[in-house]
């Protein structure tokens, strides 16, 4: 099965190369048969990748330790779910998984658009297949997951213990789906440039394919945060690690693009800017992958140093140079159809949002690359830590939060002073009210006050939009409030789905603000000893030890009280993985409303039974998880096809049918 998998991978490379060449040749010869052949070849890449992935999974589950990847990333005692996840736990397997996802995206884009966008699809197929070609090439020549060892070890090294967590089975695939998926909108952008079809059709073709990976990226990032929170045991969920940053950067660029694309759709402005943003977003996914996999930056997530770096650099240079040349060539076709009419307009708010997002992106990029740059310039690797990122991102985050609320209050084109005054009144009152209440209850942290007041501002803004819409529907239809709310969301998915996304942003910011209010304590306790932590109290009951084939465990029982009332018995653990010879902490968390009591064992003395604990009280942290869920759900709601989409899709198909003529070749 392993040999069949390797053969399928080689055939996938050939199929992807064939799909690229045949699509381009088919365009040149205007031969539909060749173009369809190229599309089928691209579809077969997915089938072949599936066989290759099954081949590797077969090797993993049959514990074929002669396969180097299996020996390095699994062992005989790993539970089945982590055997499954070990496909993406190591460098070579994860690149295979990446290629598989890319081929699946390519197939989905081809199948869903088989009878639409016929002017764009052959080019898009060529771009997506070329990308598949690169990853297959990488797997075969630099990161072979099927490589055999000259001997068969009796036991494998096992998956990195910190990766043996349920969230790790979901978080990387989600993040990959986000990073990989950006290939499809990029392919549509390049196809629009190459085919010189730069009207709104390509934007329509691209928009949903941009929203899908954007949602996956957002969900993946936040799920990664959840994994870090419950697994890494440092009390937080975001550490500005280079690999986290590598996924954040395309997400920021994609967010900017999602907003500025709306201006192009409505007013025919920013055509060049949107193309640049699209190329940049895709480039960032490849650059992020290069950072993660080449070993140029140190990270808790990074894969071992390997020789894939030069491949990625070459690929990135080809993408950037090729795209920029194509863009420059088509520059005369990208002239704006109108101009900014007023600074007091939705367009201006979106533009400002674009600039802040990109400034934040470049700050993150600078901080991420600073160790590399400093090493090249001075010879010393100077790492930029979380304080730098926080100092830069907090003020910019607050401006973005303000724009999240202010943007919808502006009308397209221009807004009069009277409208602005009327629209800003309720959100402003809401912000002042929140600030006053928080100040009155004793909050003195300036950033927390500003952030939560701005959240109040956004709630006021989004609430105003919904209440106006619901009232209008109730007046005209007599519907109940709930029915009017549902109908409002259904009848205008993009607008009100977008507002729901803004609500999820508020929840996220409320959660982020909680970090500024958290309590952090380190205490040593003897069995039976009690200690107060704010309004909580902990009593160390006992310490127990256990052992299985994979790991040895020390576990503490700690009873938790709040205002003298018993809440729960917490059971934090510390694991020692025998094969990897690595310690990990298993956090115990008690969630009370939106607040977490977070307990970790740092170490224990087996002679006197004393144990050192790290305690975090994290207020509002649950808002981050609820915000993540709402972000994903509301994005799905906003991207769901509307009757207008279906009408235009029918016209697309009719236009494609009407132009199909007899073969000339």
């Amino acid at each position: 099965m392993v040999d069949v998998g390797y053969f399928a991978l080689c055939l996938a490379l050939a199929a992807a190369a064939y799909a690229t060449a045949t699509s381009l040749f088919g365009i040149h010869r205007r031969h539909e048969g060749l173009i369809r052949s190229g599309e089928n070849a691209a579809l077969s890449v997915c089938a072949l990748y599936t066989v290759a992935v099954m081949g590797l999974w077969y090797a993993i589950f049959s514990r074929d330790f002669q396969i180097q990847y299996v020996a390095e990333n699994t062992n005989a005692h790993m539970p089945a779910q982590y055997m499954l996840a070990s496909l993406w736990g190591g460098q070579n397997g994860s690149i295979l998984f990446w290629g598989w996802m890319l081929s699946a995206y390519t197939s989905a884009a081809i199948l869903l658009n088989r009878h639409r966008y016929r002017g764009l699809m052959p080019y898009a197929t060529a771009v997506m297949a070329a990308s598949c070609c690169f990853f297959a090439l990488l797997n075969i020549f630099a990161a072979d997951p099927f490589q055999r060892l000259p001997f068969t070890p009796t036991e494998g090294q096992g998956l990195n213990p910190i990766l043996q967590h349920p969230y790790m089975a979901i978080h990387p695939p989600l993040l990959y789906a986000g990073m990989v998926g950006m290939t499809v909108p990029f392919a549509f952008g390049i196809s629009a440039l190459a085919a010189r079809e730069l009207n709104n059709t390509w934007l329509r073709a691209m928009r949903r394919w941009l929203l899908i990976p954007w949602t996956f990226l957002g969900g993946g990032l936040l799920l990664g945060g959840k994994w870090a929170y419950v697994e890494l045991g440092w009390g937080g969920y975001w550490g500005w690690d280079p690999v986290e940053n590598a996924s954040l950067m395309p997400f920021l660029a994609g967010t900017a693009l999602l907003h500025s694309v709306m201006i192009q759709e409505r007013k025919g402005m920013l055509k060049v800017w949107n193309m640049v943003l699209l190329i940049f977003t895709f480039g960032m996914t490849i650059f992020g992958t290069f950072l993660t996999r080449s070993g140029v930056v140190s990270s808790v997530h990074a894969f071992a140093q390997s020789n894939v770096g030069p491949f990625f650099v070459t690929y990135l240079v080809i993408i950037v140079v090729g795209s920029v040349v194509l863009l420059l060539w088509r520059l005369p076709d990208l002239k704006p159809e109108s101009h900014l009419e007023s600074f007091a307009s939705r367009e201006s708010a979106f533009l400002l949002n674009n600039w802040i997002l990109l400034t934040l992106l470049f700050a993150v990029l600078w901080g991420t690359l600073f160790p590399v740059i400093s090493e090249v310039v001075t010879g010393d690797k100077i790492t930029v830590g979380a304080p730098f990122f926080n100092r830069v991102s907090v003020p910019m985050g607050l401006v973005l939060l303000f724009l999240t609320g202010a943007g919808p209050l502006f009308a397209w084109r221009r807004t009069s002073g009277e409208s602005l005054r009327r629209n800003f009144t309720i959100p402003a009152i809401s912000a002042v009210l929140v600030a006053t209440v928080l100040f009155a209850v004793g909050m003195r942290n300036l950033y927390a006050l500003m952030s939560l007041s701005l959240c109040g501002f956004v709630v006021g803004s989004v609430g105003l939009e919904f209440s106006r819409g619901i009232s209008a529907r109730r007046r005209s239809t007599g519907e109940s409030t709930l029915a009017a709310f549902y109908m409002l969301l259904s009848k205008n998915r993009r607008r009100y789905g977008g507002y729901l996304v803004h609500l999820s942003v508020i929840l996220l910011f409320v959660g982020f603000t909680g970090q500024a209010l958290s309590i952090d304590r380190e205490i040593v306790l003897y069995p039976g000893q009690r200690e107060d932590v704010g309004r909580y109290a902990v009593t160390f009951e006992t310490l127990a030890f256990g052992d299985d084939a994979n790991k040895s465990v020390s576990a503490a029982a700690v009873s938790l009280e709040y205002d003298g009332q018993f809440l729960a018995t917490l059971l934090p653990e510390r694991h020692f993985y025998k094969t990897a010879e690595q310690n990990t902490t298993e956090v115990s968390i008690y969630t009370r409303w939106l607040e977490d009591f977070y307990l970790i064992i740092i170490g224990s003395n087996s002679q006197d039974g004393s144990t050192k604990f790290q305690i975090y009280v994290n207020p509002l942290v649950a808002c981050v998880w609820w915000g993540s869920a709402l972000l994903v759900l509301s994005s799905l709601w906003a991207m769901w096809p509307t009757s207008r989409d279906r009408r235009l899709a029918r016209l697309d198909r009719e236009a494609a049918r009407a132009t199909a003529g007899p073969a000339s070749a």
């Binding site: 365009i27 089928n40 759709e265 009308a411 409208s419 209008a472």
Partner: protein, 160 residues
């Protein structure tokens, strides 16, 4: 020797060759980008949909008090003029049956039609801010409760 491996590889190869060769011999028409009238119609319809969406949003925002009448007056004519131009171009591709058409009224009627549809089946007969215009010819209707348009004679209650 295990025959499974060569057999499976041959099967994959055969499947691949069938998938890529079949369309070359089976497809009998040339590839062409959407062009001519079909493409023009698509582009114009896309533009029309976009302009109508903007007009609807504008009307809606005005009706809920989000934008002032001054804003409405300053923005609407431009959008309406563009929509009329697009309708004219669409009509040039597919001429309608009637004689002279009042394009401004057609835009108003289309928007009124959308408003009725958006209000769903529960809509009351007199919508606040709804246009009292005939959905067919766009003429203003003096009697909103009337069953027929006094200008073109179309049955009004059948439309709603």
């Amino acid at each position: 020797m295990n025959l499974f491996i060569p057999a499976a590889c041959m099967l994959l190869l055969a499947g691949f060759f069938y998938a890529v060769l079949h369309p070359i011999f089976a497809t009998r028409y040339a590839w062409a980008r959407p062009a001519g009238q079909a493409r023009q119609r698509l582009e114009l319809t896309e533009r029309k949909e976009q302009l109508y969406a903007s007009l609807r949003e504008l009307e809606f925002d005005h009706s809920v008090g989000k934008i002032s009448s001054e804003d409405l007056r300053s923005v609407r004519p431009d959008l309406e003029a563009n929509a009329v131009e697009v309708l004219r171009q669409l009509d040039a591709i597919e001429p309608s049956d009637g004689g002279t058409i009042d394009w401004e009224a057609r835009v108003e009627a289309d928007l009124a039609q959308w408003k009725r549809e958006a209000s769903s089946a529960h809509a009351s007969p007199s919508l606040p801010g709804a246009f009292a215009l005939c959905p067919s010819c766009g003429a203003k209707l003096r009697n909103e409760g009337g069953r027929f348009c006094p200008h073109c004679g179309i049955r009004l209650d059948a439309e709603s």
